[in-house]
Amino acid sequence: MKLNTLTAVLLAVGVVTCSAQAQSSRDTIQIAGSSTVLPFSSVVAEEFGNNFAQFRTPVVGSGGSSGGLRQFCQGVGANTIDIANASRKMRPNEVEACKANGVKEIIEVKIGYDGIVFASRTDAATFTTLEPKHVFLAQAAQVPQNGKMVANPYSRWSQIDASLPDQEILLAIPGSNHGTREVYEEKAVIPGCQTLAEIKAMDKDAAHKVCTAMRTDGRVVEIAGDYTETLARLQAQKDAMGVFGLSFYEANRDRIKVATMSGVEPNQDTIISGEYPVSRPLYIYVKGAHIGVIPGLQEYAQFHISDGMSGFGSVLESAGLIPLADDERAEIMQAITQKKSL
């Protein structure tokens, strides 16, 4: 019995030493970040593993754009990630933080576009006259009335505009850890806010403050999780309206329906043409210092934006990504080959 215990302890020590030896190298690409990009990245990772017998299948984590970029900027080395997925552009302060931590080569790769849709349950009212202005008025902490700023008095959409349905205002928007949130604010709330005469009269800083202040009476809920959590919120509350990615809506068309924005229905065509206003580019950020160290990293980035993967009629297009124009893709391909850093 004593011997058995001894061998077991020795084994345990062996496991720990083995692990210490395994630390130095890693042959699997590690990716983390935006949950909007995650489905696309996962598809690419899987196809990459299946197409290149010499490389291992990359591992894709989530955590939101900000979370992924924070992990990305922790430093260089096998225990840091190689690629950050982001549904927004990297901010200048993030680039600085990255460089301060030794992450000096950051290759920005735009992979395509995604639309953001406002959707509600199929058995709720249909929104056909929604404007960015209405979204602002529904979510703002203070709204202008008779030339003065007052606390948001609206509780039903019909009070904002007579053409909107007579339905409770309940908005489920992405939490601030999501890149989608920034796009929601920049493409819907702020433009809507700036159409109002009272806001135009204010100075820039004050206007920005008013535009982005959110009401706190429970009518706007921030969802920190992914879109399934937003969907669950809609399932619990019939009147709730949620903010989703276009591809999520496409996969769940039997459960939710979209609102048109300024009269335009969101779909691939209206987003490519730019008619539908609330769309954004998606990015992956590649750590240049890891190219050549982690096998297949550069090849993965090139594979990601290859024609077969993310061009028109490609695998990612059928997964819901809106492709880049061919010449833009060629430009980005070149940036990857030359390791052009931010």
Partner: protein, 456 residues
């Protein structure tokens, strides 16, 4: 005399004050007991009903997911389409590495073959109007099956030129449609399948070409996102398996050794009291704290790989350790002192008394504690989220150092998948698999206890 004789009768008819009090309070006490009993019984019934509700809900959703719609096709491995050179054979004077390079190059070449065309060609034989709807044609069979065909060729190139009857998984949305998980009366713009596709699926399933078959994919494949229908649990299962291996190798012997020392050898003083209190406290530490420790110490300082079962196993070992120590100590305590005394009386040393006489009697109890600890670790999710094990991993890990997920994390990941109609059932199926593993582990613990239990 008569008066005396009358007295007892009288006392029955008209009880004394004390008796009256007793009778009155007795009624109250009985009422209270009845109330308590019914409260207790209803508590049991309510909790049973809730458990039953949970199980019925999970099983009703999950059981159908163990069967999945598959299409039976005669695939002709057309040599014109699979135009690849001979599979390389290792030469006598060739090093292993060179051969591997050549073999990989050959595999890549096989990978360039358009296996979808093989599938499309054989589909055209069963669908007369297929040529006009090429877009839909490419979506009947789930996209991952082309790799299954490639793997067949890589494993045995002699299949080229032959015809094989294969059961290929259909697209996830076809499975959803056939199982009725999407409302069939919805208008076209809310359906996932085009009208043409629905017509095809209907006719193929009436002909028996598309059938519900037991889903091996669920058990044999790793997770998938590009081909949702082929997403399986194999990767998560192996991840959990490696973690449990680490827990069994580390936590169980260390826990047992610590418990024996503390219970039998350690002197009773302030220090051992402190250790004891801390072990009990450690058992109550929320598991997510161990995850933070794993992320900062194991990954941050010791540079262990992210999302690897070795890190998960180490973290879960820490979590299981107090459980094993406490269970082992209470088992050792329960062994009558007479056993020790008899051994010592016959001249055995303390070490001999413990290892020859006490420990063998304690083994069933120790095993039960260890198995329950491992079962608890198997179901643990929170610490794994923090060490990167909630990533999407599309391959089955080959060692504890490879990236992997675990079964409970896989449930969490599938719960978040966009294609709700398909993954609601898949998630419940994964829950059933996890529950079955837990039940069998707990069953094993009970069986061991019953089999080796000794009563004094």
């Amino acid at each position: 005399m008569t008066i005396i004789a009358e007295n007892p009768i009288k006392s029955v008819a008209a009880p004394s004050q004390v008796q009256q009090k007793v009778i009155a309070s007795l009624r109250k006490r009985h009422r209270k007991e009845k109330l308590f009993r019914s409260l207790g019984l209803s508590a049991v019934l309510i909790s049973l009903a809730l458990v039953a509700l949970l199980f019925i809900n999970i099983f009703a959703k999950g059981i159908p997911a163990f069967w999945q719609s598959a299409i039976t096709l005669d695939i002709y491995f057309d040599p014109k389409i699979i135009n690849v050179p001979q599979k390389p054979v290792q030469q006598a004077d060739e090093s292993d590495n060179d051969f591997r390079q050549r073999d990989l190059a050959w595999q890549n070449q096989v990978g360039f073959v358009n296996f979808n065309r093989l599938i499309a060609d054989s589909l055209q034989k069963v669908l007369p109007d297929a040529a006009k709807h090429r877009r839909d044609l490419g979506r009947v069979v789930t996209s991952g099956e082309r790799f299954a065909l490639r793997d067949m060729v890589v494993a045995d190139p002699s299949v080229i030129g032959q015809t094989h009857t294969l059961h290929l998984l259909t697209d996830a949305n076809i499975d959803v449609w056939l199982k009725g998980n999407i409302d069939r009366s919805l208008p076209d713009n809310q359906q996932q399948l085009s009208p043409k596709m629905r017509e095809w699926v209907q006719s193929l399933s009436e002909q028996g070409i598309i059938q519900n078959r037991f889903s091996l994919a669920l058990f044999m494949n790793a997770d998938s996102r590009s081909s949702l229908a082929s997403a399986g649990l194999a990767g998560a299962f192996m991840g959990s398996f490696y973690m449990m291996l680490v827990v069994i190798v580390l936590a169980v012997p260390m826990g047992v050794a610590a418990a024996i020392y503390l219970e039998e050898f350690a002197p009773r003083n302030r220090l051992t009291d402190l250790v004891e209190v801390n072990i009990n406290n450690l058992a109550a530490v929320p598991s997510i704290v161990f995850g933070l420790l794993g992320a900062s110490v194991l990954i941050g300082w010791f540079n262990l790989p992210m999302s690897a079962p070795i890190v998960g196993g180490l973290v879960l070992s820490l979590m299981t350790l107090p459980t094993v120590i406490i269970a082992t100590r209470s088992t050792l305590k329960a062994i009558p002192p007479s056993i020790r005394q008899a051994a010592l009386g016959l001249g055995a040393s303390k070490m001999q008394a413990i290892f020859h006489h006490v420990l063998p009697l304690a083994i069933p109890g120790i095993l039960t504690g260890a198995i329950l600890g491992v079962a608890q670790a198997l179901g643990e999710t929170a610490p794994l989220l923090l060490i990167g094990m909630k990533s999407f991993v599309a391959s089955v890990p080959a060692s504890p150092f490879d990236q992997a997920t675990a079964l409970p994390v896989q449930i969490y990941l599938w719960q978040g998948n966009e294609l709700r109609n398909f993954f609601e059932a898949r998630t419940s199926a994964a829950i059933i698999v996890l529950l079955m593993m837990m039940i069998s582990l707990n069953g094993m613990a009970i069986w061991l206890r019953k089999k080796y239990e000794k009563r004094w």
